[in-house]
Symmetry: D3
Subunit: 335 residues, 6 copies
């Protein structure tokens, strides 16, 4: 069974059987896989589009982040569509799950090409939707953004990044791995360094040459210490203000390793001294409210290393739902 819309995207591997009474209150009852859609036009109206990007063989360290898209979908059963904090019901939005980019086992370049193509196809079709990529490792960000650029070449793209690392490693060392996405985008001319904003850097997890490269290219960053002193919300707002004066579209990338290792047992690259869950959720909510934010991704979450209770998978899903909340609050405010 292939999706009618995207023959080059694999549909999700399974479908939740829907409740007979038609009442939906849990996320898995609400978000529809593309294989459940019968009317292409209806599909095109989705306000949010999900794309799974199950690639982690491009990671420097052995990673099972490729398993997150499936774990993400399975975790939906643990979440209501109703957001109590803001008294809104996400199920009033239409969200479409297009499935996963197909991957090749031994040809990573091919995997990356597939991601660019899938991203371009979806950004081409869904010009008014938010596109959420569920990684996968951080190498996918460069590919998702390139696809976005391919679909809308005239739009200047800016990036807001929550991350413990710059991800500016030299691609000539080991190709487009998970340590390189930001450099990849700079060197390919898709995003200028000065249009990148990183929040969350800290500790002993970046080499000096990366910082120097960042400075040369004008990459903007707030260390976690600086962001805490200023306030996470205020820091995010400043980044968005600056960005929106310079670009047409903003892409949010959430590298889950920005979290403290106590909060993210399922993120092997998370470190001591990182963000708390509350700080990350506060930041993501604020970003999502900005009208220029058109796409986002969640990367580097490895369910194979998670706790039995799947604490980190649930947190990844919470980040996604928080993003949707911000989007909906904006819409409501706009109306």
């Amino acid at each position: 069974m292939k999706s009618f819309l995207y023959p080059k995207i694999n549909p999700p591997s399974f479908m939740w059987v829907q409740p007979e009474n038609g009442v939906m209150s849990k996320v898995h009852e609400w978000i529809q896989p593309i294989t459940a859609i019968t009317d292409p036009e209806e599909a095109k109206n989705a306000e949010v589009v999900i794309l799974g990007v199950p690639l982690s063989r491009s990671s420097i360290s052995a990673s099972g982040a490729s398993e997150f898209p499936e774990a993400f979908r399975r975790s939906w059963r643990s979440f209501a569509t109703y957001n109590l904090d803001d008294d809104i019901d996400l199920s009033e939005m239409s969200v479409l799950d297009t499935g996963d980019v197909p991957m090749h086992v031994t040809d990573i370049r091919k995997c990356h090409e597939n991601i660019v193509e899938a991203s371009a196809a979806i950004h081409g079709d869904f010009r008014n939707s938010k596109v959420c990529a569920i990684g996968g490792d951080h190498s996918i960000t460069a590919m998702m953004v390139k696809g976005m650029h391919k679909a809308n070449p005239s739009e200047r793209i800016g990036i807001l990044q929550f991350d413990t690392h710059f991800d500016l490693r030299d691609m000539s060392d080991n190709g487009p791995s998970n340590g390189t996405p930001m450099r990849n985008l700079i060197e390919s001319g898709v995003v200028e360094g000065r249009n990148m904003y990183n929040i969350g850097l800290h500790g002993f997890f970046n080499t000096k040459d990366l910082k120097q490269y960042a400075d040369e290219k004008g990459v903007n960053y707030f260390t976690l210490r600086q962001a805490r002193k200023k306030g996470i919300e205020e820091t995010v707002l400043q980044c968005l203000d600056e960005l929106s004066s310079k670009v047409d579209t903003i892409y949010l990338t959430v590298d889950m390793d920005v979290l403290d290792i106590a909060y993210a047992p399922g993120v092997p690259a998370s470190t001591p001294g990182g963000m708390t869950t509350a700080e990350l959720l506060e930041g993501v909510l604020e970003v999502a409210k900005h009208p220029k934010v058109k796409a986002m991704d969640i990367v580097c979450l490895d369910p194979l290393k998670d706790t039995n209770a799947q604490a980190t998978v649930k947190l990844g899903t919470h980040v996604f739902l928080t993003f949707l909340t911000g989007v909906m609050l904006r819409q409501r405010a706009s109306n």
Copy 2:
């Protein structure tokens, strides 16, 4: 061996052998099981009474919370009676462990009846004591409060609840499960909705209809976000102020799932974005100081899912000892 006082309550399954020199400095050397008491009258003077309520087959999801009362007692060896923060020694209080409510393997209704009866018996005997129920899942709260009501039908009861959920599910769906205790109390007329205060709701863990039911019944609640903004202590004080103007007795129920999943690996229903340990302990201490608070419970902690170091079991015991601290601080202040 049965207790002389409560033939229908099983004594704790084991007794700590006491130190020869009679010096007690650890909690397990201090709290006496009812089987170690020879004088019923002496027992009746206990300032605090413990009742284990090892029921979790009434949980919606598979739960081992029934194992908490035993794990709770075993953990006592890790705690001193001396509280350094407040420079008081809890061993100056008398605490009686009456044992566990007997449970039936396949008749949950019978289990619930046993809890009501045990609660009524203890509340009837110990009119000036604090009664602490150690769950078990949250279904026991409705039963403990009904027993309290049965013992003192003329007293109006209010509830302060730390919880991620409303626990207002419809009993007609699946009976008095762990999702229903508050609704159970409202529908049975034992506690009015307007006399319930919930602190800690957040995220995507309650469906919209439950919120609507809460509003209809006048249930009061502070989301975790609101409570943090106002301050946990201040929020608790406001709840207590309002409650004490309306009721005679206050019951505190601590659903451990109010905690962030990073702090409570042994609480399967805990979620990302919940309370920190410091916040919960701050709240419980403040509640315990209020003179109208007569009873409390700790529920939904599943030792079978805890870490090897029993991090969550220890946290549950810490909540209990913090409650006792508040009680003792009040007494000292009153004298």
Copy 3:
């Protein structure tokens, strides 16, 4: 969405999306949920019928065996339909997954009634099929057999049991728990003690009174030591020979706790000194080949306690596929 055939059975909670090319080589591509069937008559031709029985709140100890039916279905992706040992392809058989018996959260009696009804309905419809119940705890066996009896009251039923325990506890103590199924069947007159054969008893895991009860009722048993001395295959054949001379239909029940604890980390009641995996698979294969064996179950496997690699869930599925292999070998031999 409800199944057209069995409105009182919940369909499986999810469906695997099938491969576009229609080639099926993995178990999840082969076994169809009832919701994927459009022709009731076609469904009725299934050679094997699966019924999930997600009940474990009737367990004496806290258990998550209720999660096994879902874990069982998820594990299908790890198994080919082709059996190399015997050079047969299971996909030549038709297997129908009818879904799960609906359970009530707080009324265990109702759960048990639902199982009896579902079993009777299926045994009534599928008179030439093998019926495989996926537990759940061992209390379900009594209910499945009662349903079988209800559907075919004139048939004498015998039981072959792989188990570390007699499961002959007195129901007057705690109702029809997981310790009672065999006694339940004897006392209700559905199966005579002399038509029960237990293989695998060993060690210190049965009290003396149970052994005495077994002897009084003529229950047959081989301890694991005896079975090893004689040979597992030979022991099974002797049981089947004796049984087939006395009954019309044989029910196989596999309590996974018959396995040594080293082989079954996900079975909390497994013990040191139990069966090896190889021994159990050898036994099950032999049973399945017997033409009078009409139904089987797999019980007491708790996925929540399994290893990360789901070693025990996979073993449970292997037991099921081994049973199907025996059935198919018999058919082939008969033709």
Copy 4:
């Protein structure tokens, strides 16, 4: 509370509360701690005496084997007194739990002296009982045997050892650690090398010089490969035959590291290629039947490294109960 009999032995830290009806069918209802005994003479009639020896700071590698005596006692609740394999009820024997040898935190020599003294006291009092020491690490064996020798200096002692290692390391290197007990006994003249029999050596876990020392001293050993070829039971019988012609008393020491690492996750020194559970239980049963076997120990089991299900702790307890079974079978055969 100290025991009236052995003021220098700490009573068990806790007591199980006994069933009111006096019916005992589980091990914890049967084995009495010394603190529950009121008549010293009655205590003296115990057929089996248990002594906990919670010392593991003498281990070469960091070990929590000191926690086994308590874990052993807690595990009793999982075992019936009735042995189905042999149709005997252990509760017909009288077993006395004298508690634990007191240990010093920083003076290991003192710990060892305490063990010698406790062993001598108990062997002096209980001349017709079997003495079971529950370790602790293997250094305790030398001390238990020395105490035995002190109580009965004229008796020649032989040792049967199940072990992956010789435990013949040179004490001048690091004192009487867990690698030295057999050499300690040879060098102190308490047991002759030729009266030691080791079953289970295998693989790459002993250095050559230890083998040479063993040969010089005439220590007897069967590698696991040799024992398997000959049969475990036959090997044990040959050892016992030879030993009983040379000594008055036989001491059995079970180093749990003789087990394959797959069977003993809670024994850090267990290795690939070791014994299966079935083999060890078969061996222990045979040893226990021999009338000259007067004492035994179980060592090097670290509950802190065990699985959540406490697979290895349960196995250790099973070894103990199997030993008792052998003793009882002998008695029955003698009568």
Copy 5:
């Protein structure tokens, strides 16, 4: 620091500091990394050569098998050089650790080329040595054998494989992944199907088309059931006999997934019903004694999924040392 001999092979990442007294009794004191060698000629005399092959991004499922070479070296401290079973000391052999094949993060083809080159270089230099490759996933086997062929093109190569799978998947699907090494070798003409012998196939872990391909190409195989019936040793001897009549050189590949999942928690692809440790070690020892066996590998062991005690890593090292034992026994027998 690069090795003087193999500039294209990375030296091991660390060196054990050697004991001052020069006495070596543990494996880590004996096996020298190439960086510790000062005389190239001396290096060339090594009887055994180790090559780490840390590649697992070519695995179909997410794998950390790339971490095994380092874990393997770290585990050496747990093993003596003395083999008690056979009374030989491995340290009389000279073993050289040449380090690890360098890998590229995103170019798997390049990784594979590097392996072929490294293998060719080493086989070219060490014509009388045994070459042991430490994987990595099973894709490396095709590359190691190709390198061997490149170094000695005139020699016919045969393969003895312990495996649960055929590893004959079609490379046109996903390139030279870990599912394809045997087909890769057949299709590239390096090894004929009839010169491949697989021992250990079982269960539901191979699709039918693979079996058909195997039969077409004349691949020989014994299922585990067949091998057990015949005896592991006898099966191995028969394979070796047949092979040695057809080829000049035999390559042994040990896919650790041949083991039962209870014995190999650190091998994600291991399955219920596989080999026991004792069976595998018996088989490997027998293979190693054959004079035509010139090279071997150990693959698919993922230390990131191993138990805390590193049970599977230790087992992998035990397989290696057992191989060396066979080699040494042969040499001794030849002299």
Copy 6:
């Protein structure tokens, strides 16, 4: 291989192989073991000296803290030398790893003497360096400080302690265990009680008599609640101000059990309600900046109980690097 400088200190057990190009950016490429140094005079210029103190058999509870020095060195590969928060590169400092104090398996007194001697030797040689001891349990602190005192008898020493406990237990109970270091120093006259400052006490983890002893001896302490109210940084500054007016040298001891149990799974004595990672790092940084701080230790971290991702080991290393950062910031400020 022994170090030329300290024949009584064991060199680290392994050496990292250095990168060929000589560029060092990771901690393991920077910090040199003493065995890699050829010029003793060069060694003497080290600004920071590391001494491993692998002793934990002196712990009251079974502990594997002896494994931390090795785990600490292995973790270096996960850390860059560049500190982004403060834009400094630690590799501009010279750091020397002298190895580990040799320990005796069964003579704890000898272990302690070895520590005192090693500390005295190093403090004697490195008068201008910071000395960092990597424990081990907290008993080592008394020995390190005694060695420091022995090397410089005329200097008054003060102690700043991050700890959940007083560590003032009576040595007459169980010798110099991990519960006694502060009392040991007071009673031996090496440090006066009034020159000790403890930050982090909280909860129910100290008995009343210890508090009384602390008060008698004038030990200063801020509970965690007090420190939080005042601010961690401010609290530390006040302690340092007071201390520097009274002593010549300040010793920092970080007992990792000061952390909340959610942040320190690898510290068995950590408790609910402790410090967050952010708080501890803030405190350590501030201490390190003070010129009188000459030595520090990190104790009670047990890698055997850590998570698979080694969250706590990494945190311990982060504490060490944060200390170095403070030292370097001070130097830079001074220049």
